[in-house]
Symmetry: C2
Subunit: 910 residues, 2 copies
C-alpha cells in the first residue's frame, strides 16, 4: 500500500527527473518494486533506461503519491508539486536545449499516465504539448516543414480535446472526413500543409464549441490540465472496474510522465518502430519487429503505410541498427528478460520511448529461458523458474491456431462445451459408432467419434479416432479414462448435445451435425466447434530446448516423477518423456482388448473358484505375461508398479439395458425363443453383477479376496515375465499394488497370496528376484489407519481420484456435468478437486497417511498415482508433504518434472 | 494363572475343610476370585455357604494346586496331600458322627470335580463312596431298609466302574435291562431289595471282568482312585477341547470335593429337589422349582416320578419350607443375585448341595435387578449394570417362541437367511405386491410382503404388513429404511430366494412358497421360515420394571438419548420410550406418501427455479407444515432436528427399467403411439436424473443449492408450524439440519437461505422464535474440516451410515449381500461396521470432528443420528469421545438409555 506522506510538507519530493532514479530508489528503501510503485511502471522504466545509459528523451515523472494526494485533497495539487514540475521542466529544457513555450526554440513534450501495473482505462497519451499558434509558427521556421508542424498542432488540439477534455473524438474525425471528401482524397497523407493548417483552426473552433472555452494556448495551462486529467482518470469508472476485476488495490495511484517529444517524421533519417529483442514466436535471438522511416508511432500502429521488418534497418542504417542491437543487449542484461520496446529515430538519433518484458509464445519462452541461461544472463534456476507448466502443456498437445479459433468463436461456430477430459485439439469427421470410426480411421480419415457415452467394446473405434466427444459422463467416465490413457483429445459430458445415434445426427439448438460432417474439439478446455480449425502439432523429441530445461529441472527437484502406463508402447513413451518409473500399470485395461474380452467374460460367468474359472484364467495368463514382459523390458533398471485388478466385474460385461431391450423385443414378437433364452441367460448373469453404487462395490481387493484366482493369475504373470527378463539380463523392479484396500487384513491376505505365488514361480524358474508389495491408499479409512496398513505394505500409492470421490462423497462422473462446475463457477469450491488436490480435506488425509505410514515403516516408499500427479499445484503439495514421487500420464511427465523443480525452488525461498 | 508352590513342602496346605474358608481366603490374599481359583467354583461355594451358616453336609476340598502338582509330578500326589485328606476326613467324621469305612456306623461320601469355571468334560460325580459288603450289611441294620442300601451299593459299583474306571456304562445298563425283562417290569422302582442285592453282585462281576481286578472293597482305595480320576480328567480330550474353544487357561487345574452323603430317599421325611430363589421366567420373588419326597437327586433329573412344584413343600413341610426360604434369602443377600440351588432333605433335615447364579429370561433379569435394588440387596447402579442391552432388545421386539423356532430349524423349515434389516419376528401370509398386501392387511390378515426389492410406491403395502422380505438390497435399501422407521420386522437381501412376482411364486431349492402361504421371518437375525412359529409380543407401557430401571439409568447417564422420527406418531412413541428430543426427522419420507408423490414428481419435472416449480412447491407446503406441526407438538419442550431434503430426485420417480420395457413393448407392437410418446417423455426425464453412483450424486445440500426452492419451501413449513404452535403456547425448539455437506460454503449458503425465510415468516406471523441451524457430518471432508463447518453450524449430527460408506468406500446395499458378510465371518473385519461403529476409521473422524468443531464453537451441540446410535458398543464410543447425544429409532431408545448409563458407569471404574 502506498501511503501518502504529509501533503503539506513543502520539501516533500513529488517529482523525479528520469536522471533522479537513484534518489527515488533511496526514498523507497532500495526496492525496485518500491520504485515502480512510486513512479509507475512506465516512469520507472524510463528512469531505469536513463540510468543504464540507454538514450531516452529527457523527462520526469510526477509520482503516484502526488496523484493520491491530489485525489485525497479535493483535486488540488499537493503543496510544492507544481513548483517541482516547473523546476524539473527547466532541467529537461537544459538537456534538450529547447524551452517549453519558447517562441524561438520551443520544447514539446508528451504526457503519459503510468501506474504500477499496466492498466486499461487510464488516460491515453497526449503528444505535442507546448504548441500554440506562436510556437507553431516558429517551428515552421525551424523545420521548414509546415505540413509536419500543422499536422502536429492539429494532433495536439484533437488529443487534448478528446483525451484531456473528454470531447467525443467523432467531433474531430467527422470534420476530417468532410475535408477529405471535399478534396476527393482517401488518406491523411494526401492532405497538404494548408489543409492541416485549416483543420487546426477548425479543430480549435470545435474545441471551443464543445467546451465553451477556447483551446488553451498557454503551454503551462496545457500541462496543468493534462496532469490533472491523468490524476482524475485513476478514479474513472473503467479504471475502477478493471482494478476490481484484476484485484488491484485502489490506493496505488498513477504517475504522470512528461517526456520530451522526438519526431520520427522529420525526414528520411527519422523513423519510428516497435520491436522485440528476440523473436516472440520462436524465441530466436534476433531483433524482431517493424519500423517506418519518416513516420510517427501512431502511423505504425494505424497501418496506414506498410511497415518494414527490423532486419531491413540493418541495410538501411547499419549504424543505427548496431546501436539498436547494443541497446537491446543492454536492456536484456539489465532486465534479465526479452524486451518489447518502442523507439524513434530523429534525424539519425536513436531514442527509446518504452521498454517492458515482451509477451511471447510458450515455445519462445522456453528457448529464451534456455539460451539466456546459456548466455549467462540468467541462472539455470531462474530459467527453470521462468517457464511455467502451462507453457509445456501448450507445447506438447496438438492445439488450435489461436487466431482461427478466435474467429470460430466470433462467428458462432462454437456449439457446446463439456468436461476437458483429455487435453489436445482434434479435427475430424463425425462417426457415431466405433465400427465406423475404425473403418474410416483405417481408411486414413481423421475421425471424431461421437457417442452419448462409451463402453469397453467401443475401444477399437476410440483408438482409431483423432478425438472423442460424449454428451454424458465426467472426467472419470470410460471415454475420459481411455482417452487420457492413449492421449486422444476428448471432451465429455457436453450435455447440450442431443446425440441421436439411430438417426446418425447430432443437434444443439439450431445447429445440426450429420455423420461425416467436420467438427473440431479442444480437449484442453472442453470446447466443441462445427467446421475445421487448423492445428499446430507437437513433437517432444524435437523440443531440444525443452529437454535441456527439463534436464536442469531434474537436477533441482527432490520429488521423483513416474508415469501411469498400461502398455509397453506407453512405457517407452513415458521413459522418453523422462519418467523414472511406472507408478501405475492398470492390468484390467489389457482385459478389454478384443481377443481377450470373451475369455474374461467366460471367466466371470464361471462359478467363483471353480475349475472352469481356472481354465479361463489359464488362457489369460500368457496375455498378461506378454504385456508385463514388454513393460518391464521398456523400463529396464526402473521400478514398475503393477496394480492388481480394480474395477467391478460388470464393467467387462455387455450393457444390461441393451440386453433388456433385446429381450423385451424378442418377447413381444415371440418368434425366436432360442435367442431369447440366450439373451435372458446373459441378462441374468449381468443382473447378478449389477450394483447400486459400483464405485463403492465389489471391486479391487474385495474381488481379489473372494475370487483369489484372478489375483493369483496376475501375480503369476508378473513373476514369470520378470524371471524371464532376469535370465535375459534385464534389470527388473516389479512392485505389486493392491487396490481399494480399507483394512490391513485385506493387504495381509493378498500379500500372502502374492508371496506364495512369487516363491512358486521363482522356484520353477530358478531365479531370485527382488520385488515389493504395497497398497493403494484411495479410501479415507486406508489413510486414517495407514500405520496399520504399513505393517504389510512396503509402499503406498495415493489414488487421489477415488480418495477425492470418497472424501467429498462425490461421484465424479455424476457431479462434473451437474453441480461441480456450478460449484467452481460460483466459488463454493475454489477449484475442481479432481483437477487440483483439495489440500484441506484430501490433502489432510494424504499428509496423515504419509506420517502414519512412515511411523510404522520409516523407509516406506510413498507416491501419488491419481491424475493430480500431473497437476502443478498438486505436485507442489506432494513435495511439501514429503512424498517420494508423483506418477501421471506420460504426456504430463514433463509438466510434473518442471513443477517438482519449482516446488524445490520454493523451498529455497525462490 | 495359578502357580504351583513348592510341591515338596510338607507343610503346604493341599486340603481345606468347608469350614476352613477363611484360611483359604487368607492364603490367596483375600480375593474371592482367588478362593474360586484355589478351591474351584463348587468347593468355594460349598465352603462359602458353610461360612454363612447355610446347612451344607460336612466335607472338604482338595485344591486345584494339588491337581496341578499331581499332573506335573507324573501323576503322583504331592507330598503331604493324602495325609491331609485323611486328617480332614477325621474332622468330617467328627462333624457327621460317623466313620469312613466303619463297620458299625459308616460314613459315606460323594466325590465331585470342581474347576474355577463350570466346564463340561470333567469327571462326573461319584456317590456313596465308603460302601462295601461289610458296611452295606451294617447299614441294613441301621436303616432297616435293605432295598435302599443295595440300591445305593449297586450305584456306587456302577458309578465307580463307569466314571472312575472308564467302563462303558452299557455294560451295567444292559444287565439291568435283562433283569427287568426277566421280572416283567418296566421301571427300577418295581425292583425289590433282593433284586438290587443280586444286581450289586452281578455288577461287581462285570467290574472284575472289565478291569481284570475286583471292585475295591477298601473305602480308602475307593477314595484315592476317585481323586486321581478327577485329577486326570483335567487333561482329558473333551476338557482340553472345551478349554480351547472357551479360551480357558489350561493351567487352572480342578479341585476335588469330598462331601458327606445325605439321602433324600430315606423315607417320607426325606426328599430332594432343585430350585431357583426367584421365578427365572418372570423374576417374581417366589421359590421356584421341583422336589420329590423319598427320592435321590438323580430321580428328579431323570423324571422317573412326577415331581412336585416347590409351593407344595410349604403345605407338606411348612417348617422345612420356612427354613428353605430363610436360606434362599441368606444366599441372595450374600451372592447379591438370584440363585439356582440343589438341596436334599434327610429325615427332616435340610441340606444345600450346590448354589450358583441362576439363569433367567430377559424379563426376569430386569424384574430381579429392580426388586433386588428396591429390597436393598444391590444398589441401583448395580441393577442398571446387571441388565444388558440384549435383555431389553429381547423384551421389546415381538419374538418367536424359542422352542418352536428350534423345532422349525431342526425340521428343515428355515429356507433362507438375509440381512437382519429391522428387528422383530413376524408371521403372515405372503403377498407379492403392495396393493394386495394393503388389501389383505386392511381385511385383518397378517401379511408378509415379499418383493425382490421395494420402491417408494410400495410403502402403503409395507405399512399394512406385519413383515417385509426382499431378495435384493442391504440394510440401507428402501425396504430396510422404511421398515426400521415403522418398526416393521424386515429381512432383506435374502439372495437364495427366487421371487417370481409374475407367477406369484417364490422358490428356494426344493421349497415352493405361493401367494397366501404362511411364512415366518425373524428380522432380528435375518432368518426366513416356511410355516408359522408362535410369538411373544412386547408392550413397553406394561414393562413397569423396565421403566423403573431405565429411570435409574437416566440418572446415571451423561449422554442424552434422542430418537429418529418422521411422523407425529413416531415422535409420540419416541417420547414414550424416553427420547429427550428428535435427532433426525427425514422430511423426504413425507414426500413418498400417496397423495403427495404426484406433486413431488411434477415439481421435479418442472424446470429448476421456474414458476412451475414454485407452483408445485406451494402445493407441498401445507403438507409439510402439518407434519412439522404434529411433531413439534408431540415434542413440546424438547428439541426437534429436521433434516432438509436428502435423497437424489430419481428416488421419487418411476423405475427406469420398467419404463424402458414398456417403451420397447409399445415400439415392438407399434399400435399405441400416444402411450409410447408419454412413456418416452417420462423415460427421458428419468434418464436425465439417473446417476452412476447415486449415493455420491446430486443430493442433499447439492440439490438444496441448485434448486433452492425446495429447501426454501421446507424452511417455510418449519417456521410456519413453529410460529403457529408458539401462539398456541407450545414450547418449540426447531433445529434445521443440512445434509451431505462437505464444504463450509455449502453450510453458509443454506444457512443464509434458512435465516432469510425465518425472518420473513417471523415477521409475517409476528412471533419471535429461537432456532438453530446445523449440519450433518456424514462425509470425511466434513469431519476433517469440522473447524470450518462450525463457523456456520450451530450443531453437528454424525450420519454414521453414510460416513461409514464413504470412509470405507463401501456401498452398504451392494456389500452386505456380497463381500461384507464374508469379511465378518472370516475375521477380516471384527464386526459389520454398519452395525458397530468402526472406531479406528470412522471413529477417528468422529473424534476429530468433535474436537475441531468445539475448538471453533465451544458450546456446539454434537450428536449422532446414524443407526449406530442404537448400538450399545457404539453408544459407549459416543460417550467416550464426549458427544452430547445419540439418536436412534424409537424402538432402540430404551437400549440406548441403558447403554449410555453403562458407559457412564465405566467412567466410574464400574
Amino acid at each position: 500500500m502506498t501511503t501518502t506522506p504529509n501533503n503539506g510538507a513543502k520539501n516533500h519530493k513529488w517529482v523525479y527527473l528520469f536522471t533522479d532514479v537513484a534518489q527515488a530508489e533511496q526514498a523507497v528503501g532500495g526496492e525496485w518494486e518500491g520504485v515502480r510503485a512510486l513512479l509507475g511502471g512506465k516512469g520507472a522504466n524510463l528512469a531505469e533506461m536513463t540510468r543504464i545509459g540507454v538514450p531516452v528523451p529527457p523527462g520526469f515523472t510526477v509520482t503516484t503519491e502526488a496523484c493520491n494526494a491530489y485525489l485525497a485533497n479535493h483535486n488540488t495539487f499537493p503543496e510544492g508539486m507544481w513548483d517541482q514540475v516547473l523546476e524539473s521542466l527547466k532541467d529537461v529544457e537544459k538537456q534538450a536545449g529547447k524551452k517549453f513555450g519558447d517562441a524561438k526554440n520551443p520544447l514539446l513534450v508528451s504526457v503519459r499516465s503510468g501506474a504500477k501495473f499496466s492498466m486499461p482505462g487510464m488516460m491515453d497519451t497526449v503528444l505535442n504539448l507546448g504548441m500554440n499558434d506562436e510556437t507553431a509558427a516558429s517551428m515552421v521556421n525551424l523545420t521548414g516543414d509546415e505540413r509536419f508542424v500543422y499536422d502536429a498542432y492539429r494532433r495536439l488540439v484533437q488529443m487534448f480535446g478528446s483525451v484531456v477534455m473528454n470531447i467525443h473524438d467523432e467531433a474531430f474525425e467527422d470534420y476530417l472526413t468532410v475535408v477529405k471528401k471535399e478534396k476527393g482524397v482517401n488518406s491523411d497523407t494526401e492532405l497538404n500543409a494548408a489543409d492541416w493548417k485549416k483543420i487546426t483552426e477548425e479543430f480549435k473552433k470545435i474545441f471551443k464549441q464543445e467546451i465553451g472555452k477556447p483551446f488553451p494556448e498557454d503551454p503551462f495551462e496545457q500541462m496543468k490540465l493534462a496532469i490533472e486529467a491523468v490524476f482524475k482518470s485513476w478514479n474513472g469508472k473503467r479504471a475502477i472496474d478493471y482494478r476490481n476485476a484484476a484485484k488491484i488495490a485502489h490506493d496505488l495511484g498513477t504517475g504522470v510522465n512528461i517526456v520530451t517529444m522526438v519526431f520520427g517524421n522529420m525526414g528520411d533519417t527519422s523513423g519510428t518502430g516497435v520491436a522485440f529483442t528476440r523473436n516472440p514466436a520462436t524465441g530466436e535471438k534476433v531483433l524482431f519487429g517493424d519500423y517506418l522511416m519518416n513516420a510517427q508511432g501512431e502511423d505504425v500502429v494505424a497501418g496506414i503505410r506498410n511497415t518494414q521488418p527490423i532486419a531491413e534497418l540493418e541495410k538501411d542504417s547499419p549504424k543505427v541498427f548496431a546501436q539498436f542491437v547494443d541497446i537491446a543487449n543492454k536492456l536484456e542484461a539489465h532486465y534479465e528478460n526479452m524486451q518489447d520496446v518502442e523507439f524513434t529515430i530523429e534525424n539519425g538519433n536513436f531514442w527509446m520511448l518504452q521498454t517492458r518484458d515482451g509477451k511471447r509464445t510458450a515455445r519462445a519462452e522456453i528457448r529464451i529461458a534456455v539460451e539466456m541461461a546459456e548466455e549467462g544472463v540468467i541462472s539455470r534456476q531462474v530459467a527453470v523458474q521462468r517457464v511455467k507448466p502451462a507453457h509445456i502443456s501448450q507445447l506438447l498437445h496438438p492445439q488450435f491456431d489461436l487466431e482461427q479459433k478466435k474467429a470460430s468463436v466470433q462467428s458462432g461456430r462454437m456449439i457446446a462445451s463439456g468436461v476437458n477430459a483429455s487435453p489436445g485439439a482434434a479435427v475430424g469427421v463425425v462417426a457415431f459408432d466405433a465400427d465406423l470410426a475404425e473403418e474410416w480411421g483405417k481408411a486414413g480419415k481423421n475421425v471424431i467419434m461421437v457417442r452419448p457415452e462409451t463402453k469397453p467394446d467401443d475401444v477399437h473405434g476410440m483408438l482409431a479416432s483423432k478425438g472423442i466427444l460424449t454428451s454424458r459422463g465426467g472426467a472419470t467416465s470410460h471415454a475420459a479414462v481411455v482417452a487420457r490413457q492413449f492421449g486422444v483429445p476428448c471432451v465429455c459430458g457436453a450435455e447440450a448435445l442431443n446425440i441421436d445415434v439411430k438417426s446418425r445426427i447430432m443437434t444443439v439448438g439450431e445447429s445440426v451435425v450429420r455423420e461425416g460432417d467436420v467438427i473440431s474439439i479442444d480437449g484442453s478446455v472442453g470446447e466443441v466447434f462445427v467446421g475445421e480449425i487448423s492445428m499446430v502439432e507437437p513433437d517432444f523429441e524435437r523440443e531440444t530446448y525443452l529437454q535441456t530445461l527439463l534436464g536442469w529441472a531434474d537436477e533441482i527437484r527432490r520429488l521423483d516423477v513416474y508415469a501411469n502406463a498400461d502398455y509397453p508402447a506407453d512405457a517407452r513413451r513415458a521413459r522418453e518423456y523422462g519418467a523414472r518409473g511406472i507408478g501405475l500399470c492398470r492390468t484390467e485395461h489389457m482385459f478389454f482388448q478384443e481377443e481377450r474380452l470373451p475369455i474374461v467374460q467366460a471367466m466371470i460367468l464361471s462359478a467363483p473358484n471353480s475349475d472352469q474359472e481356472a481354465v479361463e484364467l489359464e488362457k489369460l495368463l500368457p496375455f498378461q505375461q506378454d504385456d508385463f514382459y514388454g513393460i518391464f523390458k521398456a523400463m529396464d533398471g526402473l521400478p514398475v508398479i503393477i496394480r492388481l485388478i480394480d474395477p467391478p466385474l460388470h464393467e467387462f460385461m455387455p450393457d444390461h439395458e441393451q440386453l433388456l431391450v433385446r429381450a423385451t423385443e424378442l418377447r413381444a414378437k415371440g418368434d425366436n425363443p432360442k435367442e431369447l433364452a440366450h439373451v435372458e441367460e446373459m441378462m441374468h448373469a449381468v443382473e447378478a453383477l449389477r450394483e447400486f453404487n459400483p464405485m463403492l462395490g465389489f471391486r479391487g481387493v474385495r474381488l481379489g479376496i473372494l475370487r483369489p484366482g484372478i489375483n493369483a493369475m496376475q501375480a503369476r504373470a508378473i513373476f514369470k515375465a520378470a524371471c524371464q527378463l532376469v535370465k535375459e539380463g534385464v534389470d527388473v523392479h516389479p512392485e505389486v499394488m493392491i487396490p481399494v484396500t480399507g483394512h490391513k487384513n485385506e493387504v495381509k491376505i493378498i500379500r500372502e497370496l502374492v508371496e506364495r505365488i512369487g516363491k512358486e514361480v521363482m522356484a520353477e524358474e530358478n531365479v531370485t528376484l527382488k520385488y515389493k508389495i504395497g497398497t493403494m491408499i484411495e479410501l479415507p479409512r486406508a489413510a486414517i489407519t495407514a500405520d496399520e496398513m504399513a505393517e504389510y505394505a512396503e509402499f503406498f500409492s495415493f489414488g487421489t481420484n477415488d480418495l477425492t470421490q470418497t472424501t467429498f462423497g462425490i461421484s465424479r462422473d455424476d457431479a462434473e456435468g451437474k453441480f461441480l462446475l456450478e460449484y467452481v463457477e460460483t466459488g463454493i469450491l475454489p477449484a475442481n478437486p479432481f483437477q487440483v488436490i483439495d489440500e484441506a480435506g484430501v490433502g489432510y488425509l494424504v499428509d496423515l497417511a504419509a506420517k502414519k505410514g512412515r511411523a510404522t515403516r520409516p523407509g516406506i516408499e510413498i507416491g501419488i498415482c491419481g491424475e493430480h500427479g500431473g497437476d502443478p499445484q498438486s505436485v507442489h503439495f506432494c513435495h511439501r508433504v514429503g512424498l517420494d514421487y508423483v506418477s501421471c500420464s506420460p504426456f504430463r511427465v514433463p509438466i510434473a518434472r518442471l513443477a517438482a523443480a519449482h516446488a524445490a525452488l520454493e523451498d529455497l525461498g525462490k
